[in-house]
Symmetry: C2
Subunit: 612 residues, 2 copies
Amino acid sequence: MPNGFWDRILWVDLNTGVVEVRSLGEKAWRSYIGGSGLATRIFADLGGEASDPLGPDNPLIFMTGPLTGTQTPMAGRHQVVTKSPLTGIFGEADAGGAFGHTLKRAGYDGIVFLGQSAEPVYLLINEERAELRPAEDLWGLDVYETDERLRASLGSAYVTAAIGPAGEKLVRLAGIICDGRHARANARCGVGAVMGSKKLKAIAVNGNKRCPVAREDELRESVAKGARYLAANTKMMRAYGTAGGLQAMEALGDVPIQNWRMGLWNEGTAKLSGQRMAETILTGRYYCRGCVIGCGREVEIKEGKYAGVKGAGPEYESIATLGTLCLVDDLEAVAAANEFCNRYGLDTISTGSAIAFAMELYEHGLLTTQDTGGLELNWGNADALVELVRQIGEKRGLGELLGRGVRAAAEEIGGLALEFAVHTKGLEFPAHDPRAYNSVGLGYATSNRGACHLQGFTHQFEKAVTMPEIGFPEIQDRFGLERKGELVARAQDLMCLMDSLKLCKFSLGGGLKVTHMVEWLNLVTGWSMSIEEFLLAGERIFNLKRVLNVKCGVSRKDDTLPPRILTLKRAEGGAATNLPPLNQLLSEYYAVRGWDEFGRPQSETLQRLGLA
Amino acid sequence: MPNGFWDRILWVDLNTGVVEVRSLGEKAWRSYIGGSGLATRIFADLGGEASDPLGPDNPLIFMTGPLTGTQTPMAGRHQVVTKSPLTGIFGEADAGGAFGHTLKRAGYDGIVFLGQSAEPVYLLINEERAELRPAEDLWGLDVYETDERLRASLGSAYVTAAIGPAGEKLVRLAGIICDGRHARANARCGVGAVMGSKKLKAIAVNGNKRCPVAREDELRESVAKGARYLAANTKMMRAYGTAGGLQAMEALGDVPIQNWRMGLWNEGTAKLSGQRMAETILTGRYYCRGCVIGCGREVEIKEGKYAGVKGAGPEYESIATLGTLCLVDDLEAVAAANEFCNRYGLDTISTGSAIAFAMELYEHGLLTTQDTGGLELNWGNADALVELVRQIGEKRGLGELLGRGVRAAAEEIGGLALEFAVHTKGLEFPAHDPRAYNSVGLGYATSNRGACHLQGFTHQFEKAVTMPEIGFPEIQDRFGLERKGELVARAQDLMCLMDSLKLCKFSLGGGLKVTHMVEWLNLVTGWSMSIEEFLLAGERIFNLKRVLNVKCGVSRKDDTLPPRILTLKRAEGGAATNLPPLNQLLSEYYAVRGWDEFGRPQSETLQRLGLA
């Protein structure tokens, strides 16, 4: 085996309790890199796409990348791959923090869970020792409590990934939260509900092994230079977190407001910015392992009705979905809602989206105080926001309905409710508006896990980032039409690679190029991979996910956006009147991808990628 | 009461067998004109939109217009309004022929059927005498047989409207066929199934009353001039029927081929043209009552496997949906399929669409010979075409599924089948491609009965027709974007008026303008209606239908087109690569209409139209 991998994957059968170590061989790693790619390959080999998402046959796979656990900066991440109970198709969720780094340092690249335990368990990993332990006493605890309880008994060197009550109760919006109070979430696609269905409360890991690196001196030199450069170019994010750009993004028309209806909310948005947070509740910052930015916010609220909030503060996506999307301009309430999401183990994006959806239902009388148990769901009602997070997390009251996600809730209610459900393929939109960047709508429409900015990240290529190695040496026109199909396809392939290397995408804003990624991968592994081979692996990974989705029934009809986004021009803001030209772009995108008219990879394409 | 109306509507309670005459008063006629408008007003007052389409509470309304039965040319038509069992929303279907003319001449403006008979009946109307009669002996007969049997017993002066076995068996694609072998069909929206659910086999009418006209001499002079002009400008249609333009339309990219995939099919299309028909199976032509064009084709096939076909030949829509859409280039087979549609009482458009849909399922292995009872549904298989028409008409074999319409069939099969179902709001597309005229997609998306060219007819405004009175004194650019929302709204309002006057839309190609319509209406009725009041009535009628649909759950999400039409660029033909810019146009259209962001008429709009 090359360096960079242990080629040791924990294989945990929750039906029998047997824990083994399995190896895949170098070819698998070189073809799928690690992280998202390798986990998807394993998922596909296990036939996960045919499983009932909450049944025993759905694999739940945690996977680090080749750079994770090495001295490479911003690579301390891990991916979770599973079939999504929210969308019914391929699901995955990425997280930073310390969990992935520590897992790798324990001597494992990843973990595959199969089956379902009869009783609650957690997985303990202490380097060579890996065993399932009873978790009766943890079941019912929230994520922060679980983390604290485990580390109190096992030792503070342990790092955890856990579900809260939401995952236990199979809430479709449940995520997996790593690192306790310094929360980093594998948030999306209901991966926490899958973990709950397996009665797996947590993973606790301790590891200090040095991960073997092929050309250590060269790597050290290269990453030192890279780290300095990355740090120098990300000062704003360090100072103000991911929400430091909130107002600048609003000016571009990028921020979703009032369930995607408004284009500007000047004073309201200002109250939620990273700058405002720094002036008020911010107490510090925290870093993912190996990070040079430190976008994590430590916050504390000492007084008032949200007193007691202490730990991870809301980042941009959470501020936008729990805040601007619901017209809630109370930063403390948003911080409290964010903390409850972390404690219950909920995806803030989907949770905030479901609440904004409910507020619009309430505005139109499709929900009344009879349905809400007396709660007045007026736009901007901060108390209602926080209460609904709790109800979703506890699967009670209106939370039972909202916790199924906006697609299912809208289908249940019917009529106008279907107009308010902003999702693609069942996944609620993240907080970047496709009307602000012409490539973003195409990206959301074709992202394999449903609407996702991270799987295309092209808003950056139309704003700040160039990437000559994939054919885009200039920043692209965000309102243009030229080469958008190509941009989205090539950016998605690259994002597959970053999700497989497990590199943080904020490194792109710091100036990281494909050349650096390949250089670091080769220095770590000892390979001499070319940029072409590297990019081909990204295309392979993206197409493998698409093949899985095609097996789940996905086709052209699903590569779409909701009517509000496709047809409703906003009246104001930096992207006023622009609509995503999805229809014009889709066929070009399919052609670039080598897909047929229904969006299925053609056999020549699969052949070329080694997926036949 | 003014002239032009009797203000006598037959009110038939099929539960009790009671037949009455009711009047509405002049205000209703002046506000809703007649035909489609007045029938919709009655339908709304009866709460028809809340009914089960195949239950006793669904009204089935036949209605003539103020010009019907007078010497006005091209007004011998009638409308059927009901709730559609195919689409689940407001439904209507228009027909020419002699039925409406004769009904008016019997001294009635229309007929409202309510309830359901326990046993098969038909309605006999002989001027003052109107009664339900047993129809046990007619039940099970096809339309031609029913017409012949009735006229043999009642006298050849009688004119019939009847359902065939399809309507009896509640096939959702069933229509009502008038005039027997000189078939004219109230085809769309499953109106024949509603008639079948009422156990109403037929209406037979005899009438020779002179319809009172206010200013007879002036009308005679005006229509004589108009008729000469209309006749002079429609020679091509008289010579070759509605399919005389088939090849010219194909050159524009207007003709749907192979379930909307191909843009050109040169030799194939040539074999189906009106010119080819004239050289082969054509034996004569026939006219609707009062028509000066005579687009009706009499055909006869004397030899070969389709020997025995005799009567109405296929018109353009039928040739395109049973022919080009299925890649069937055998004109005799298309004529036979058309005759079976008439005999079974089926909508040729929806039937041809369902068969093309099935052929695409077969191409992709979603239907096999196991499902088809051995039938090989290859594109262009003429025998399969004819056999499937029979199966749909008899609700047997694969016909049971296809007879539910492409939306329901695709939902039943799922997966890729949903890509092949070309409909809006559950109504299969007529044979004009929205990719060939930028306004047409918007028209199909917003037409009140689902995808419909007749309710907007804007392909003509982007090709040949000008209409200064509604603000379009020039032919519009078919690939342009300017004022398309306004064009579609104003053209839809005008089409509502023509469907209420019961004027044939082919008169537009002959040069008929709004000024003539208003002049004739005033000469007939004695009113002094202004063009403004007239056009406002059109807007009122369109909005009333929309209000009914909103009550059925229709909103912005439903004002759309299928993915194939929205996103698939055709490779060849006169509209190659063009896509309907629906998303760009929808909000403009709503604004022109005075609708809110969800497509609901705003209260000021309803107020302005007297619909509050």
